[in-house]
Symmetry: C2
Subunit: 156 residues, 2 copies
């Protein structure tokens, strides 16, 4: 049986860990198709939103609040797209879904990081799930350091 | 200034209201691209998830639990895709986002309602945002009645 991917993250998988508390881990996503895209992962293996405990659910609200403020204030995101899908887990049998959220910041105006300008070409429209990664490795590392440097001002 | 659509729903818009409490309304969606697709709408005008109060957030968990159970047990959904996007609100100036969730049940096996069989062609893959409506008006009415009939067994 294939192991649950999120229960067995390697150190390399965790290289962009922005914040972690008892219940949730927040990562900057490897794929930066939307600048500042993050993944919020339940630390415990829960298979659907309805399996989350009250404590996990309340702790999630603190994550939502902090992450929205971080990405709006530090990157200039106009708003965020939140989704909890877990479709990929159903490609294997038995499926092992593990609760996580995709968080895509969306930008009304171009965003500049160092010398590069990024555009959200589909702003005000559904995200493009096949959008290409917009950042090279060094830019991702720079973005991670920028967010990580500011994270304590937002997360409790 | 254009009115917030969700703050001014007509009786026709509310025809598929499945459940409502102090904080949230649950509708069967007009567009049944995924069978049993629902929309969960905040009754108060809140512009982002971080604006929700603790009471609203806790009440949302009850809705999540009830709706997952309803759609899995009554329709045979294998899992649900949850998303809170609100992109359309940014097509107008000033934007007036109003917190709501799209809930798409996903099916590993065909689902039969009355004499019609429906297939989730992209199961285990991201939903297709341009998927056509699968149900004609009478079938939607029948589906609504089926869910409405069972709703009190799931929602507190």
């Amino acid at each position: 049986m294939k192991k649950c991917e999120f229960c067995h993250l390697s150190e390399a998988d965790r290289k962009f860990l922005l914040y972690e508390n008892e219940f949730w881990s927040v990562y900057l996503a490897d794929k930066q198709d939307y600048i500042g895209r993050c993944i919020v992962v339940s630390r415990e293996h829960k298979e659907s939103l309805s399996e989350l405990s009250s404590s996990q659910w309340m702790a999630l609200k603190d994550i939502v609040d902090a992450l929205e403020a971080l990405l709006k204030n530090e990157l200039g995101a106009a708003m965020l797209n939140w989704s909890c899908l877990m479709n990929d887990a159903y490609k294997t049998t038995p499926p092992q879904p593990h609760v996580h959220f995709h968080v895509r910041p969306r930008y009304a105006a171009p965003i500049r990081i160092d010398d590069t300008c990024y555009h959200d070409a589909e702003f005000a429209h559904h995200y493009n799930n096949r959008c290409a990664d917009q950042m090279h490795a060094a830019a991702k590392r720079r973005l991670f350091e920028l967010l990580k440097h500011n994270v304590t001002a937002y997360f409790k």
